[in-house]
Amino acid sequence: MHDGIKEQNGHRLASLALVPRAAGLATKDFKSDQEVRWCPGCGDYAILAAFQAFLPGLEVPRENVVVVSGIGCSSRLPYYVNTYGMHSIHGRAPAIATGLATSRPDLSVWVITGDGDALSIGGNHLIHALRRNVNIKILLFNNRIYGLTKGQYSPTSEQGKVTKSTPFGSLDHPFNPVSLALGAEASFVARSVDSDRKHLTSVLRAAADHQGAAFIEVFQNCPIFNDDAFAPVKDSAGSGQLIRLEHGAPVRFGPGGETGLRFGPFGALEPVPVAEATPGSLITHDTSLADPSYAFALSRLDSADFARTPIGVFRSVDRPSYDSLMAAQIDDARARGGDGDLAALLAGGDTWEVS
């Protein structure tokens, strides 16, 4: 059954070329009968709603969508989506999804994870899934705190964070998830915000359209243990602190969109008032650059006060996906030598007859 689905089916998304097509699905089709059990006001609700509403547009049958998660608040999400799903173990979802996606090119495989799950206990699997470019889509819900274990600092918590496990303030320097993913040379890296449904949906769509591993960091509010951690970027209209990245468009931000970006002497990006900039010196956003340095420089604009926070697609480049390369090796071997012959295999090498 599954080993045979090889034909191109005219799907418009490259990453779903081998996935069957189904039209006419609605958001309700992706809601399971399980009661959602996150805390009232949790950002996870908004992300779940956006995810469920976005899935019908993929035109993939429910049975060909698989959502794999690790452990943590966000990792409960698969229970609420009426597709195939696995709520696995802490940190290991990218590894499990790798085995699934590599052996089943006819599936659309999504990984739901959090900052503790993906960046602490599962950091190794995350970077290796990204460098291999396995055809999986990873949504990292970053709330900068451990929620399910009731409020310890996480690998994305700001240094000095006072929590139950760090009453005198945390000592760790945090990860920047986007920088980390770019350092692993992920072929698709994006960021969005739980409260901006429209933006989140557009990023999900771009990720689904990407052939290979896609990494999306979603700023997600935890109202119980780390409320308003992303408050500065919540009101995107007013503060002007968000830098909305659009491929092919000049990067503009700040009040009235009067600030742009240019490269400084050591490759860092620096803000400059558009009016003062030398013509041609300002950056126009390009997600397709093979070298991740520019995207990395964008990710380094982040600061603790969210003064300049880029969201959107940082990087989206074409690179053969791991699963397609593995399938090609098998196809090549069979094209050259034919399908394996078990009797010939067992009788290979030096043999002798006893009569």
Partner: protein, 627 residues
């Protein structure tokens, strides 16, 4: 010069040298020649974990022992009849195992003052008379090799490296081995380096001719082919047999094979072997770590692959949590533990059977897992198929135990007829989409909703509902599930029921395996020797000795360690004494005492080596004497 030919019924040869001397290769080639000649054989490679330990030192010694005979044999032998020592370290490390009167072939070129000093010889043992008790053949192997190759356009270093082929040629002549397979091997191996190929062929030929012409050897030996059962044979190591067994299982089940693995001694060769066979649709995934390798395998199992992960003890420890998840989500998964000496890193290249209790119990919670063990190198093939049968039939992870001795050791294997192998495709079926077939309705509740944890009444297996099947969308996970529906459940009675159901499913596997067979030819034995895993050969050889000495003793060997065969308790109670030899401190013995209240006698060694049959025979006779 015509030489006297002496007939022998068996010979044990040990090649020993520095780890860079190519002793494993020489041993492998001699084994292959011997296999093709038609002797029965058994091998024991023994090498350091370091790739190139300091040259000329005792820790750097690498050896390869081969036992071959004109009759069927069970072990690589206790003590060598012939020792080839390529340097003083090899001599010193192996001399203690050499019985008086044995042949000792020494490469005299390496017995320099410096090399002697490295291993603490003040005076060369070649000169102090200490080797008089052996039949010493002093051969300047290095210089003879270099001289034979002086016309070749190769460096002196390359010429010296061919000395293993000179030694192999010499031994091949001495025991009348067919040389053709080695010549073919060298031609294939060095096809891209013709000068090196010619040099190695010349060194091999020079060694052969030296044996024929020199007076160092006055006798040539003959070991007639063994009368084995008719069929086509090949020589095979445990790891190769295991890889072939997995490929065969994939074909027999009609499932694509997925291997998730991380390099670890002595399991890596299974990964290497499977990686070659892409024509069989095998997907091999070298993961970033042990945890990812088993995780990927479990993911592929969810997707409907025959999934395997291979490792050794330290890797087993890391995989434990994922194996626990596989127990909870009830998906088929084969976990191969090629055991090595522990704890921790232990001795990576040395064998041990000390992971049995970890395989059974090394997870949190009540987490029953079937455990089976291979008994010999070629048996790894059949053990792999049995592991696959249990995994797909019962939708459970299965631990398959092999060990370093089986992994690297080899023996002749009668190649099975494919038609004789079990049909695994009838052992399972993917759940059909709801409404598609009667079976689909059976898996649904009254509302037509799929019940991913509704069990088959015979096997207690849950449906294997793979993604892509319409109507069976469901979520699984490590949280406790409600019986039937599989939704999250914290209900106390449900948990109690699910724990017992999972246990009952594993216990029920016993119904599908045959009774434990006891070998008791005299029928009056009062002592049973019970083993498991790679001790099969040593125990069998020891039991033969004891019987040849006129005693009655019964032997039985366990393939299934969990669950045990259903008649095991009855078998144990049938004998006055039960002796359980293990290469651990009594792990099976602990299980037997706990399960059956039988006061078994535990005999244990943990030397990183298989039991010596002679020692074991003494232990058995001692037990018989007190029975």
């Amino acid at each position: 010069m015509t030489k006297q030919v002496q007939k022998l019924d068996h010979v044990i040869i040990r090649f020993a040298g520095d780890s860079g001397d190519g002793m494993q290769l020489a041993g492998d080639r001699f084994t292959q020649e011997t296999a093709v000649f038609g002797n029965d054989l058994s091998t024991l490679p023994n090498f350091p974990a370091e790739i190139r330990a300091p040259a000329g030192t005792l820790p750097g010694v690498s050896s390869f022992q081969l036992h071959f005979a004109d009759h069927d044999i069970l072990t690589p032998g206790d003590a060598p009849d012939v020792l080839v020592a390529m340097n003083p370290a090899a001599l010193k490390a192996n001399l203690k195992d050499l019985p008086r009167g044995a042949d000792l072939i020494v490469n005299t070129d390496e017995f320099t003052k410096r090399n002697l000093a490295k291993v603490g010889y003040d005076i060369s043992p070649l000169e102090d008379g200490s080797l008089e008790r052996y039949n010493l053949h002093a051969v300047p192997i290095t210089s003879l090799t270099v001289k034979a190759l002086e016309d070749f356009d190769i460096t002196r270093k390359d010429a010296e490296r061919a000395k293993n082929m000179f030694a192999l040629g010499m031994l091949s002549w001495l025991y009348g081995r067919p040389a053709e397979s080695t010549r073919n091997f060298l031609q294939a191996k060095f096809a891209r380096k013709p000068e090196i190929m010619k040099a190695n062929l010349a060194a091999f030929g020079a060694g052969w001719n030296f044996g024929e012409t020199t007076e160092a050897f006055s006798v040539r030996y003959e070991v007639r082919p063994a009368s084995l059962a008719p069929g086509t044979y090949r020589n095979i190591t445990g790891n190769t047999a295991l890889a072939y067994g997995l490929i065969a299982a994939s074909r027999l089940a009609g499932l694509p094979l997925f291997l998730g693995s991380y390099p670890i001694t002595p399991a890596s060769d299974v990964l290497h072997e499977l990686a070659k066979h892409k024509r069989f649709g095998v997907r091999t995934f070298q993961a970033e770590d042990e945890i990812a390798s088993v995780g990927a395998a479990l993911g592929a199992a969810f997707g409907g692959s025959l999934s395997v992960t291979t490792t050794s003890g330290p890797g087993m420890a890391l995989k434990a949590e994922t194996v626990g998840l596989a127990v909870s989500v009830e998906l088929p998964l084969i976990v191969c533990d090629i055991q090595r000496a522990g704890p921790s890193t232990g001795m990576p290249t040395k064998t041990e059977q000390a992971d049995l209790l970890m395989a059974l119990f090394g997870r949190n919670g009540e987490s029953p897992v079937p455990v089976i063990a291979a008994a010999s190198p070629s048996d790894c093939f059949h053990a792999a198929i049995e592991a696959a049968r249990i995994a797909v039939t019962y939708r459970t992870p299965v631990v398959l135990l092999s060990d370093g001795y089986l992994a690297n050791g080899s023996e002749p294997w009668r190649i099975p007829d494919i038609a004789s192998l079990p049909d695994l495709s009838s052992a399972f079926s993917f759940a059909p989409s709801l409404g598609e077939a009667a079976g689909g309705e059976a898996a649904a509740n009254g509302d037509g909703e799929f019940q991913p944890f509704r069990r088959d009444p015979a096997t207690l297996a849950r449906p294997w509902a793979v993604p892509g099947t319409p109507g069976l969308e469901h979520r699984i996970g490590g949280i406790e599930k409600a019986d039937g529906s599989g939704t999250i459940s914290y209900d106390p009675d449900n948990h109690d029921r699910m724990v017992r159901l999972r246990q009952a499913k594993i216990d029920g596997i016993a119904a599908g395996i045959g009774p434990l067979e006891v070998d008791d030819p005299d029928g009056d034995a009062r002592v049973l020797v019970l083993g498991w895993g790679s001790t099969f050969g040593s125990i069998g050889a020891a039991v033969r000795r004891v019987r040849n000495a006129g005693h009655s003793v019964a032997q039985a060997h366990l393939r299934h360690l969990n669950p045990f065969p259903s008649n095991l308790g009855e078998v144990l109670h049938r004998y006055d004494k039960v002796l359980v030899p293990e290469i651990n401190l009594g792990q099976l013995a602990l299980l037997l005492r706990g399960r059956f209240l039988v006061d078994v006698i535990s005999y244990n060694q943990v030397r990183g080596l298989p039991f010596r049959a002679a020692e074991l025979a003494e232990v058995i006779e001692d037990v018989i004497g007190h029975a």
